[in-house]
């Protein structure tokens, strides 16, 4: 059972469209597996939509500033309506295709949210493999991270945040066991060492290279930029 969910504030920002694509996609994938969060998102979307399109909100703006009123008159609405309705074309929904992705010999179904994202080459280190998702979000890096059975990520912390979303399989760390669908958001204060006994595939987003703190792994700090 899914135990880890995005925080309320994160869901609100998601609904408002204020989050980067990487985190938005993470929440969308999680909601696809979690009816509770899906429900919250629907409720909030209804609410935000109402607030945005309420008559009184417009009235307030009209009263409030000439600038906006000027702006509104600057567009010729009739021309726009004519231009739009000139075409009788409609957008037909295409059946959503199911893509798969392979790590070593194992094949996984890719969440449809990721269908149109560019994927880089796969890089391997021991039992870990990662595929960069090329979202071009500067310091925010997004990856698919695969752990073979008994694989682990050495103990590390982050200067920024680290989202790990379990797409398949399970892993555990000092805090407990994580299962498919769990949305695990850590920040610089957390320290963890995930181990997967039966293997797993994760969607990860981090905004800074991680920093290894465990014994000899300090020497392996370059691995941070490899994985996240």
């Amino acid at each position: 059972m899914i135990k880890h969910h995005p925080k309320f504030e994160l869901i609100q920002s998601f609904v408002n469209g204020d989050l980067p694509a990487s985190l938005s996609a993470g929440i969308s994938i999680h909601a696809g597996m979690c009816p509770t969060c899906q429900h919250k998102i629907s409720l909030l979307t209804d609410q935000v939509a109402e607030l945005n399109f309420d008559e009184s909100a417009t009235n307030l703006t009209h009263r409030g500033g000439d600038l906006v009123a000027e702006g509104i008159s600057a567009i010729n609405f009739d021309d726009m309506i004519n231009a739009i309705t000139d075409s009788d074309a409609i957008d037909v929904m295409q059946a959503v295709e199911t893509k798969t992705i392979n790590f070593r010999e194992k094949s996984y179904q890719l969440p449809t949210v990721l269908n149109n994202m560019m994927l880089g080459k796969t890089a391997h280190i021991g039992k870990l493999a990662r595929k960069r998702i090329q979202l071009n979000e500067n310091e925010i890096h997004t990856n698919l991270l695969h752990m073979e059975p008994s694989g682990s990520v050495p103990l590390h912390t982050h200067k920024g945040f680290e989202l790990t979303l379990l797409l398949e399989g399970s892993f555990h760390d000092e805090k407990g066991e994580y299962v498919k669908g769990d949305f695990i958001m850590l920040d610089g204060e957390h320290l963890h060492n995930p181990i997967s006994s039966s293997g797993c595939l994760c969607y990860t987003v981090a905004n800074d290279a991680m920093h290894f703190t465990q014994g000899i792994n300090k020497l392996l700090n370059p691995i941070g930029s490899f994985i996240y």
């Binding site: 504030e9 994160l10 609100q12 920002s13 408002n16 469209g17 204020d18 989050l19 694509a21 938005s24 996609a25 969308s28 009816p35 509770t36 899906q38 429900h39 998102i41 629907s42 909030l44 979307t45 209804d46 609410q47 935000v48 939509a49 109402e50 607030l51 945005n52 399109f53 008559e55 009184s56 909100a57 417009t58 009235n59 307030l60 703006t61 906006v68 702006g71 509104i72 600057a74 567009i75 609405f77 726009m80 309506i81 739009i84 309705t85 075409s87 009788d88 074309a89 409609i90 957008d91 929904m93 449809t112 949210v113 990721l114 269908n115 149109n116 994202m117 560019m118 071009n136 979000e137």
Partner: protein, 205 residues
């Protein structure tokens, strides 16, 4: 990552009572656009939504041209995709909001020099149900189980989990707070209430 939902709520509250959105009318217009390509219905939708979309876009984009582009793009998606709207799945405002939010998201990604990859419809699908039948059923079951567990708790705890934190102090808490024996508190309360009853009787006579 701050959201302004709460502050918006406060701003709108004062004047909201009189202006309610006519949801059935909006649904009707969207359906007319979908089924008969009704230009009049589209014009009505446009007049309702376009000024609001423009105002919202002005808050997110630096210039007028970009805000107009959001209006143009959103409304033309409404024209071309109205058939994807399903009134059983949610309100018309929710659907148009989703279209607008998606257009805005893709445009912002483009402007920020990221990519022109139009990911929004994958992240926030326009047609799939937000909550499918099966899921809402599950959700309901989960709540039912939760409630049956709650029913077994003692009354005081029930009240806490059921809906609220109990702000009232207990007699023990009050005794501790005033640094008095529990017996004194009990007799003070008894006396005070007896006096109150007499007053109540007087008032009613």
């Amino acid at each position: 990552m701050q959201t302004n939902l709460l502050s918006t709520v406060t701003n709108v509250k004062s004047s909201i009572m009189t202006d309610k959105i006519n949801h059935p009318q909006l649904c009707q217009w969207l359906n007319d656009v979908a089924s008969t390509r009704d230009k009049k219905a589209f014009t009505d939708l446009f007049q309702f939504f376009a000024p609001k979309i423009q105002r919202i876009a002005r808050g997110k984009f630096p210039n007028e041209a970009q805000a107009s582009e959001v209006v143009q793009e959103t409304m033309s998606n409404v024209w071309r995709k109205a058939h994807l709207f399903d009134k059983d799945k949610g309100a018309a405002t929710t659907w148009v909001y989703t279209v607008m939010r998606n257009v805005t998201f893709d445009m912002l990604r483009k402007i920020k020099g990221n990519k022109e990859d139009n990911l929004s419809d994958d992240i926030w699908p326009l047609a799939e149900s937000q909550v499918s039948e099966d899921e809402s059923f599950d959700d309901h079951l989960e709540n039912k189980e939760l409630l049956s567990v709650i029913e077994k708790l003692p009354e005081a705890q029930q009240q806490v989990v059921k809906g609220f934190y109990f702000m009232e102090m207990s007699q023990e808490q009050l005794a501790n707070h005033l640094n008095l024996p529990l017996g004194t508190i009990k007799s003070r309360l008894r006396l005070a209430l007896a006096k109150l009853k007499v007053q109540l009787g007087e008032n009613h006579d």
